[in-house]
Symmetry: C2
């Protein structure tokens, strides 16, 4: 696994190269006496398609052009150039930022965004244009999730270079932030990743020694997993070759949390490697409600509406399990939560349910 | 500081003693041929008073009685006994649980709660009756916050006994969960605690080395700090003698996040040591908006309504600063966020604002 080491620093270099290429292209166009122009794939709804091969949303063939010649384009063009400049500063100074910080930082440069939505859009433009995620440009979200398990990582952030730490050192888990996501993977005894919707079950799993008993790296998604966590799960899968199992509440929202880890979101159709197509939604299935006689609540109107939406969603065509489960939810009209297994005792979910699910019961 | 070591285990013993005393009292009453009864302070609104001496909400003189003789009391009485039994099992087996888990676990014992609100109430009864917080009974909330700083702690959870770890080992921070809150404090070079409303600024502070530059333990509250985090801040203050500074967004909600850390909440009037009366709200003040010419948003109707509520809140009478700031908010009709300092560059908040605030500018 040590051969993975150069990946992160290589990627950083690619990011900087991408930003430089943008700068050089603008410079060269100006040098040739033409108004600089950038072209990037369109992110309009009709250009977002689900791709069964890569098993995620991708952008189609439509391109948009931004030219400094066009009076309506000159502002977003300048904003894009500024975001690229700011990202380059962040990356080379090894600092991180947030979407909110970028919005306010613009004022330090007398760069005007009318609101944060506008600066968010320009950051997405930069992602689309370069093919890198904003996290690659050191722009991180506020949301947080956590990790625990026998994985030695080497931090690459200032002050921590060359330090190898093990992710079992703190039994409450370590936050997944800029430092963890930019770390190198050194060594692991784990043979799988278990991603869990809720912090409460993550804590239960640590207490019950799931990381040892089932040789696993545990991830607490904290609800819908933030993009950086989804991309980190992808790295665990790709670089360490670990299969990924996802456990969520037994309702349409939990199901979709799993789906976004597996197939990504339409909002991120312009990016790759945020999703893990081989990851598996292990439960809680609607059929588990029946099989395990779990305590339930009735589906409400919003749940039912959501299930019909998911039924039409192209991502739900990639595995027959989704439609089977949607149908069962609609039939039994009930939903449940991961904690519901506690009706059989606090450790039942670890002793009985989890092993069955990891064997891949269909 | 090493002399603090016995505190946690002593407290665990006190908790178990409290539960045993309850069991013994029920047993003795039955043995004497009388219906068992428990008495506890009433938590009805008219019995919740702000106490200027302890600078927190406390319960008044009114007591309620629950007797197994009363047909309307027999169910909550039994539920209370069961929650005590379950808490005792958790504590002695060194497992943790959540409010949700307790609700479902009851079914394993054929103990019926009509909904989670009912089981939550009974857990609060147990808190009121024994004077211990549910976290002492190993019942933890889902919410999470994080810590970073030069503090050596000794974990007391199974598998980690005797291990001393330093809370700078992971530069994204460590979650504050059952393991951190039950740890012993061994050693620190910090001379203060800085509690921060938002994860984004917590990360910025770590990157900018605030823990070294200002010898501080950094806490990310993750919005309204969960009870376990508030009680952990109190421990840092009491056991290590560290002053506590709180940084929030400059709006009524941020102000109240600070206030709850300082003065506690009415919901927890039956408990002690969840609040830190000596903690200081360092900003962002309404007056900082003026002094630092910060970017702002207008107060909306809900913000204004909230400010008038806070003006009447007894907790806001404990320091003239609160009323001064409420008045300024109402006068300028603007609010701001911690990130707004980025208009002067990403490090301005650390280089300029924070030092001024730590000096205690009034």
């Amino acid at each position: 696994m040590a051969q993975n080491k150069p990946k992160i620093t290589e990627r950083k270099q690619e990011v900087i190269n991408g930003l430089k290429a943008f700068g050089a292209s603008v410079y060269n166009q100006l040098d040739q006496g033409v108004f600089p122009t950038v072209n990037m794939p369109s992110r309009s709804t009709e250009n977002i398609n689900y791709d069964p091969n890569t098993r995620q949303y991708i952008l189609g063939e439509k391109y948009v052009s931004r030219s400094a010649r066009n009076i309506r384009h000159i502002k977003p063009f300048t904003q894009l150039a500024w975001v690229a400049l700011f990202s380059n500063e962040l990356t080379s100074q090894r600092k991180t930022s947030t979407l909110r910080d970028v919005y306010y930082s613009a004022q330090a440069y007398e760069m005007t965004f009318s609101d944060q939505q506008e600066s968010n859009n320009i950051i997405t433009d930069l992602e689309t244009f370069t093919g890198f995620a904003r996290e690659d440009f050191s722009i991180f979200p506020e949301e947080r999730s956590a990790i625990f398990g026998d994985l030695d990582i080497g931090y690459t952030v200032p002050g921590y270079e060359g330090k190898t730490v093990n992710l079992t050192s703190h039994p409450d888990g370590v936050l997944i932030g800029p430092a963890v996501t930019s770390s190198e993977f050194i060594k692991t005894s784990a043979d799988k990743v278990i991603a869990i919707e809720k912090g409460a079950l993550f804590t239960r799993f640590i207490e019950e020694n799931v990381h040892n008993k089932h040789k696993s790296i545990l991830i607490s998604c904290g609800g819908q997993a933030p993009r950086q966590t989804r991309s980190f799960i992808r790295r665990l899968h790709d670089e360490l070759g670990l299969p990924v199992f996802i456990l969520t509440d037994g309702d349409p929202w939990g199901m979709h949390i799993a789906q976004v880890i597996i197939s990504g979101s339409a909002n991120a159709a312009h990016l790759r490697q945020l999703n893990t197509p081989d990851a598996v939604w292990s439960g809680v299935w609607a059929n588990d409600i029946i099989d395990y006689k779990l305590p339930t609540d009735p589906l409400d109107e919003v749940d039912v509406k959501r299930l019909y939406e998911l039924q039409r969603d192209p991502r739900y065509q990639n595995d027959p399990i989704w439609h089977r489960e949607i149908k069962t939810f609609l039939k039994i009209k009930r939903k449940t939560e991961l904690e519901a297994f506690s009706r059989y005792g606090l450790t039942y979910i670890v002793d009985e349910y989890l092993p069955t699910k990891l064997e891949g019961k269909k």
